[in-house]
């Protein structure tokens, strides 16, 4: 018996020694170096173009769901009627197959199509004008490399007088400043990279700057937020610390929100989930951080201390109703004190997007729920269930009012009427 045990011990020791030697011999440094696959100039430019096309989120507008990528035809509802995005695959007859790199750059930079027509500003050329010639050429090379798809462009359905393209001359005079991005020498390379991405390819101002009745946005009000026309979500101000102003956020949380879709402070839903899903999740860590650095540095408004909570001004029965609903339906995930379980379930206490002057987003979240986008760094996101079939307008108003004013939150009460208006909308 003893002998058997000692043989077993010897065998085990031998196995361990052999394993250790094997691990030592095949440790990373000792393995023959794999040749880096050689990238020729064409591969390099197409790969870079693909990355930049994603940063610009071309695919979101230029692809119909379930149809070939970049073949266009997606309806863009605007307050002036429907626009249809064109086919930007390299098909000679129906796409951009015959375009030259010069013509592509003129379109990106000046908003003028190959045949000289002026583009409607649904194409964000007011942002893309910042894009460098080299980057435009890379995007062009990438688009020329995707499969050409034969698909005729659908004519726009704009109401008179907006279907008169001559009007665009006036629009351009008012709202369009042509010119590539000029780096600010007083700022770091990282800041400048972030500014280039946010103001150029990222075209963030398309939603985060209020659009006026002429579909224009004023530069002096850049990133001050606004309702997204026809989508009925509120794109919060990126400059106000009372909204999505990021002055008080740690850089990593900003970068995570953009690239991962969720963070310790909150997650993205609705139209911003689409942007993260199609575009921002593909950014490198460096570019996501550069955008964070730039966004955090935007001029900050509303930096004075927040006003005291209005909880005591809310009708006590409403407050009590809201608290009861919260404890029954919400507290398990968002915590008894609204502390959340970040990043899975966002905190509600101190959450700027809940306290904003516009209550649209928190009401919509309660009515329709929502999933953060599934991204490369967060492929299995958590989700919030819809409550539109469980809570009536009074109850929605009570619970949204409660989370806007409880725990020293500084939002304002909302009315059942506000809940009712959003209930009528189709979730999107």
């Amino acid at each position: 018996m003893r002998r058997r045990i000692s043989i077993a011990v010897v065998v085990i020791v031998a196995v361990v020694i052999v394993a250790a030697v094997t691990v030592y011999l095949v440790r990373p440094g000792m393995l023959p170096k794999l040749e880096e696959p050689k990238q020729n100039a064409t591969t390099e430019i197409i790969t870079r173009g693909e990355y930049l096309a994603r940063a610009g989120d071309c695919i979101a507008c230029h692809t119909e769901p379930n149809e070939a990528a970049f073949a266009g035809g997606r309806a863009m509802p605007t307050p002036f009627g429907n626009l249809y995005s064109p086919n930007i695959t390299p098909d000679d007859d129906t796409g951009i197959g015959l375009w030259t790199a010069d013509e592509f750059y003129r379109m990106m930079h000046s908003g003028i199509s190959r045949d000289g027509t002026l583009l409607y500003p649904a194409m964000p050329f007011a942002s893309y004008t910042y894009v460098t010639r080299a980057d435009s050429d890379a995007i062009y090379a990438y688009l020329m490399s995707v499969p050409p798809v034969r698909r005729e462009n659908k004519p726009h359905e704009l109401r008179f007088p907006f279907n008169q393209r001559e009007l665009l001359i006036g629009w351009r005079t008012l709202y369009f400043n042509e010119g590539e991005f000029v780096p600010d020498p007083a700022q770091s390379a990282q800041w400048n990279r972030g500014a280039y991405l946010v103001r150029g390819l990222g075209h963030c101002s398309m939603c985060h700057t209020a659009v006026n009745r002429l579909g224009g946005s004023s530069e002096s009000r850049e990133f001050e937020g606004g309702m997204i026309p026809n989508q009925n979500w509120y794109a919060p101000s990126l400059t106000s610390n009372r909204e999505a102003g990021l002055g008080e956020w740690p850089l990593q949380d900003i970068a995570d929100l953009l690239q991962v879709g969720t963070s310790m402070r909150g997650a993205v839903y609705g139209p911003m989930a689409e942007v993260v899903y199609n575009s921002l999740q593909y950014l490198t860590d460096e570019d996501a951080m550069a955008m964070a650095v730039y966004l955090k540095s935007l001029p900050q408004r509303d930096t004075e201390p927040r006003p005291p909570s209005q909880a005591r001004l809310v009708e006590p029965t409403v407050m009590e109703n809201g608290r009861r609903i919260y404890e029954r339906q919400c507290a398990l995930c968002h915590g008894e004190e609204g502390e959340g379980k970040a990043p899975a379930f966002p905190p509600l206490a101190g959450n700027q997007s809940i306290m904003m002057v516009s209550p649209v987003n928190p009401i919509r979240m309660v009515l329709n729920g929502g999933y953060a986008p599934g991204t490369r760094k967060n492929p299995r996101p958590y989700g919030m269930p819809p409550y539109s079939h469980i809570l009536n307008d009074e109850e929605v108003a009570a619970v949204v009012t409660y989370i806007r004013v409880a725990w020293n939150n500084t939002g304002t009460p909302i009315t059942p009427q506000q809940a009712n208006e959003l209930r009528k909308l189709i979730p999107e």
Binding site: Q329, G383, M384, P386, I426
Partner: protein
Amino acid sequence: MDHNTAGPRASRSLPVRSVVITALLAFACLSSAALAEEGDDALPAFQRLDSLEARVQGCVTCHGQSGQGTSNGYFPRIAGKPAGYLFNQLLAFRNGTRKYPPMNYLVAYLPESYLREIAEHFSDLRPPFAAREITPAEPGVIARGKSLVTVGEPGRGIPACVACHGERLTGMEPGIPGLAGLRPTYIVAQLTRWQVGERHATEPDCMKRVASRLSDLDITAVAAWLSRQEAPSDPSPESPNYVRMPLACGSQPQQH
């Protein structure tokens, strides 16, 4: 159903004390069951934060904590349906080929691998069936429903439901859903949507062929009879090679 994630656990060696505690716990359970409000089965609930169960809380207010369905008449039971069927539906909702805006919105930005995982999660669950919801119907209508479900009407090219959805109406792996436990409003709505072309399946779309041969009365009859059936003791779907199917279905690859 109790939705607390952690309850007090009694583990003392004194037998008397443990009996008292057990009795107290039992009383607490009974009284909380007695106090249970309507809709408790649709409240968020999960055991562990880092789990799929916690991740699919977005589903529970409509489909119930375990996919058993809720007291709301429309939302279907999804627990125990074949994973292939659930995955096809999630994908169709994401891609917009099956239209129901609340679902289209929720899954719009979820990757395919995750949708498959969610489908498998609910497919593996076997919660008890919710109480039946029986809508009033004439005996003749119910008899017609029974005949359509169990025999079909070969003269009009209508196969029996059980020919594909299983003798126990629990569906068939991998792509055919169970009909057991579905509410009449849901069954009527889906058959009608198929009839008018609002719901589709992968071609060849066998359900379109079936639904287009059904009259409104047929649909009411089928829903009325189905809603009167007792829950099956084994809710698992049948295996795919069990029967030959009367119609070719794109979402159910034939093995023969």
